[in-house]
Subunit: 332 residues, 2 copies
């Protein structure tokens, strides 16, 4: 089953809608709220009653929908299988981020990437802890953009890069999960681009608090979320810049399986439904590993087998912005 989100125009401004599709016809998108409203009408609800119930069950926010849990998933499954032509989503609607994430956490689970990136960026082999724990950091969930959105180029960077990642969408929250129960908490997989500003990232990481402004300006997710039962276990991953293939990899090369990423993310802390987990970059899946960098206006297409193509154009560098004035070290 497939989930996506689109924007439709209304007298109250753009409204987000969840659309769903069945494996058998993955391009036949059903407006899930419309299908649920029609289903409730057939069950005897009045027009306003059916609309009210459908809106509560299927809001525009996928994260909010997931708060309801099984009632939402049942309705979404029924919608995906609907033969009701009236519920088919209008074609051509603007695609929104597939998940409006309540939190976003990025791992570094592909060995080839962290070995190569460490050698290129720091001139040494990676730290042993990367073989002991699936290490991660939180990013800015409010800076996650959707398919075709232009990626802002922040004023504080001259060096932009992409990162080809698998996105894991948590459908059911939990805490202290074991790996063997973790996959049942996954709504599905998507394509994720962890855009990176390598110069500020390198400067800020020296402080020890993680990549910081080097990552927070933008990421992209989409174009759809596909449930695990609809996908083979190893998926080909490709990045094309302006149509040229730069990166090729496979989700099958991951060192920390998805189930262990989820278990560790939930160890001792809440992992909420609607969280987006990034796998970390696949081996060879960013410009740093290849000795290449992005230019203003470049079109970045990330493709994962069975999911689709996430396409974004990079904007031009912001002309100006505030920068801190260095402080003087005191005697302490």
């Amino acid at each position: 089953m497939h989930f996506a989100r689109v924007a439709i125009e209304t007298p109250d401004g753009p409204q987000a809608r969840i659309v769903v599709a069945d494996n058998g016809s993955p391009e036949r998108w059903i407006d899930a709220r419309a299908a649920e409203r029609l289903r409730q009408l057939r069950r005897g609800a009045t027009g306003s009653g059916a609309a009210r119930l459908a809106a509560a069950l299927i809001p525009g926010s996928l994260s909010a929908a997931l708060e309801v849990g099984e009632a939402f998933l049942e309705a979404a499954r029924a919608a995906a299988e609907s033969s009701d032509e009236e519920a088919v989503a209008a074609p051509g609607a603007r695609r929104l981020p597939s998940i409006d994430a309540v939190a976003y956490r990025d791992f570094m689970a592909f060995e080839e990437h962290f070995v190569t990136a460490s050698r290129k960026l720091r001139g040494r082999d990676p730290e042993p802890v990367l073989y002991e724990l699936p290490v991660s950091y939180f990013g800015n969930a409010h800076a996650i953009l959707g398919p075709e959105d232009e990626i802002p180029w922040p004023h504080y960077s001259d060096h932009m890069d992409y990162e080809l990642e698998l996105g894991i969408v948590i459908g059911r929250g939990g805490r202290d999960m074991q790996p063997d129960e973790a996959l049942a908490h996954v709504l599905g997989l998507t394509v994720f681009n962890d855009f990176s500003a390598r110069d500020i990232q390198g400067r800020e990481m020296a402080a020890g608090l993680g990549p910081s402004k080097g990552k927070h300006f933008a990421s992209a997710v989409g174009p759809r979320i596909v449930t695990l039962d609809s996908l083979p276990s190893a998926l080909a991953m490709t990045a094309r810049i302006n149509g040229e293939v730069w990166s090729q990899g496979s989700t099958g090369t991951i060192m920390w399986p998805i189930a262990e990423l989820i278990a560790w993310a939930s160890a001792g802390e809440p992992l909420m439904a609607g969280t987006l987990l990034g796998s970390g970059t696949v081996g060879g899946g960013c410009g740093v590993e290849l000795g290449r960098r992005l230019n203003p206006g470049d079109v970045v297409e990330l493709e994962i087998e069975g999911i689709g193509v996430l396409r974004n154009r990079l904007g031009v560098p912001a002309s100006e912005g505030w920068m801190p004035t260095p402080r003087t070290r005191r005697a302490i």
Copy 2:
């Protein structure tokens, strides 16, 4: 003006309520939604109309309320000044986290802390970038607890610590703010405890992605948010463990002013209303700097002048939980 959140019991389970107080009587808490409902009744609304409007304007989530902006703030100010005894909140209600943050970002803005902590933990002076930029990381906003909540002690740690911080609550979102406009985006200040698991923090930080699981298990915020116009510019900060004073400092020793923290947080990325920013630990404001550590059951009280006391008890260590199995390094 003062903001807090409490839980009341209803037939639908606990319900969060925003309560407000005026500077002149900071312990006379008004239920803001009740005051607004009564105000609309006096303006001629029916009972259900007044209740509906008040609920839309003043939900239980302070972050959701802040999405409305000025209409909410006007209603909150009117409530704080209300002489309506019927709107006074019932005493003794359980206090919730003052802000249910949509995002949480922690800085390291106090020089004495990062100098001392770097020497104690890494045996060297801090990195120069800490004098060049106010560096920060995102934490788990869903693990932020409230006053009197017990702090879970995760299974993967033997070394728990507190951090005495100023919390800055963003009331109005923005992007690319200049420092001179930043303070107008602040709802108010609060007390923040960035609980830390020092052993796992040290291990994970070696990977370069930040403090990770060493921070994400829990923080605490409260007991109230006080607007800037109600506070002097430098506030005394104190930490007491089981009643004994361990830390004393002042917000006046901050190296990066609040306005610059906000400007940098918003540089090139969205800073949402309802975000909680941590100042970073005040000098001497954690056990690592003092060569001390917390024990199970310890009561940690953080106090900031003009705001109040944030009190939490540490739980006992979780007996078991999943841990990753180390991987073998491949030849790459």
